[in-house]
Symmetry: C2
Subunit: 310 residues, 2 copies
């Protein structure tokens, strides 16, 4: 099976690449630029460009059996700065791509959506896939619109699609720009002896999933005959305070100073509590997360240290 | 109270104008062009332009207390022809408008959404507002995205908005272009002795609401302190075959020949059955539809005849 990974040089994409190669698949990657943390992977066929250039993505999709689309021009924390750009860069690009792909007989289209934003403020946790979709930020609204267009594409033109609503992934190769992922950001700053800060009082609860668990699910989704939406989290909630405390004990164990983050005002587009119910993916895809938070944090910290001392 | 009606020269808009004037409100209308079926209405302040030109709409919104937005660049039957244009013309225009309006202290923003498309294929009828939103055409997907951005705007910036999910409005002043409204289209064609046609076998069920009932609800929505989404239908389902039969008896009573529509293949983006549960609007807004289908059809037919013989 030959697979195109749109956004395959990103944090999550790089782990999906590993997983697909291990599973013996042929992998092509389309992205804006090479992976930042390792050299090009042998056996991967790379193609570089802007995903708003539909013809380039279409070309990269030549002779593939399936596509995993995990590219986004925005992240949850930046999408609200310019919702028009969010819609143009992500939604319209997807519409053009879907129209172009209609003459390509794809076996599967897997799309990475956002379990942390599409539901909005949850009525209760853990959140099932049937929970109403009431996003309160642009990132989530655009993801819902793309999910709906995929649903329509399947209904009208037969493209089998599976949507993974990912929670908060973390792990090795997560960047340190500070806009994506509290765990990566904190570990990078600590490793570089920089002060850390958190938004709000630390009571916000998130569902952190190790990136290799998420990559495994992407692979399972690709191979499954099922379509529709699946939550992709750990199924466990952890408050930011708990995560910061856990990070503290991990870094102290390797001789770093205790971590005392400063608090910034909470952000009104942050929902208070997200924990995904992952029983659907467990039951129907036979998948289960393998790496718990403590173990994953240790591994990620080791990786961050290896990058900083390099 | 001074109200701006965006799309106020359209079929529904023209009746909302009447209703607001009757209620003693001051009315400004923004639209692409004047009403097609009557001269400019005295006391209405008209402003013409393209709603994609945000500065024009912003200017028209000067010193108003509230806005009713019922303009759309597309209709359900055309939106799928060019989803990119649907997103650009409707969604992006709305995003720019909402951003521009943030310095205007509006008392209310009423948006006309689509009860016939936002729910997709209903799990059961009548459909409540809490039914999952799973649209299968671009028109409905864009309406859902706009609903979500309004929800976000209220959450983040305090704009009080109320969304009306209208079913199939019909009545005097409905156009005859043949893309919007089976009732209007049939009556116009019969009055001009042209053959009529229907998509599919006539078993598709829709919820037809008289346009004055809908206009009354728009006015109630404007004056209410409530926000959120409300279904706006008659609460009654009628199949296309039933409507055609009813039309037949109405037109025969005025000496026209029996109507035998030809059947065209069904359209795969038509959902089989839509009947809205309107108990929320009844209970919370104290509104109730007043005009039943038989009575409304007779009135509409009389109006169509008056236009044809003019």
């Amino acid at each position: 099976m030959k697979v195109l990974l749109v956004g395959g040089c990103g944090f999550i994409g790089s782990h999906v690449v590993d997983r697909l190669l291990t599973a013996g698949m042929s992998v092509r990657v389309f992205d804006r630029r090479p992976e930042p943390f390792r050299p090009p992977v042998e056996k991967v066929d790379y193609s570089f460009g802007d995903m708003r250039d539909t013809s380039l993505v279409y070309e990269a999709a030549a002779d593939v059996d399936a596509i995993i689309h995990m590219a986004s021009m925005t992240v949850p924390t930046t999408a609200n700065l310019d919702p028009v750009e969010d819609v143009t860069g992500n939604l319209i690009s997807m519409l053009r791509l879907l129209a172009a792909l209609r003459d390509r007989p794809l076996r599967k289209f897997v799309f990475l959506s956002s379990g942390g934003t599409v539901y909005g403020i949850p009525e209760s946790v853990p959140i099932m896939e049937t929970h109403p979709l009431r996003p309160i930020n642009s990132y989530g609204i655009v993801k819902v619109a793309i999910e709906n267009y995929l649903h329509m594409e399947q209904h009208l033109h037969g493209l089998p699609s599976l949507v993974l609503r990912a929670s908060n992934p973390y792990g090795p190769r997560q960047g340190h720009a500070g806009v994506q992922g509290v765990i990566g950001t904190h570990l990078w700053r600590i490793a570089q002896n920089q002060p850390t800060e958190i938004w709000g009082d630390g009571s916000v609860v998130r569902d952190f999933i190790h990136v290799r668990d998420l990559a495994a699910l992407c692979c399972d989704a690709l191979l499954s005959d099922l379509t529709g939406c699946f939550n992709a989290g750990s199924g466990q909630g952890a408050s930011i305070s708990e995560v910061v405390a856990e990070i503290g004990s991990v870094v102290r164990a390797s001789g770093f100073a205790e971590v005392k983050p400063t608090h910034k005002p909470g952000r009104n587009y942050d929902v208070p509590r997200v924990v995904l119910d992952i029983s659907k993916a467990k039951k129907l895809l036979g998948w289960e997360p393998q790496i718990d938070l403590a173990e994953g944090l240790e591994e990620t910290w080791t990786w961050v240290l290896s990058q900083v001392t390099d």
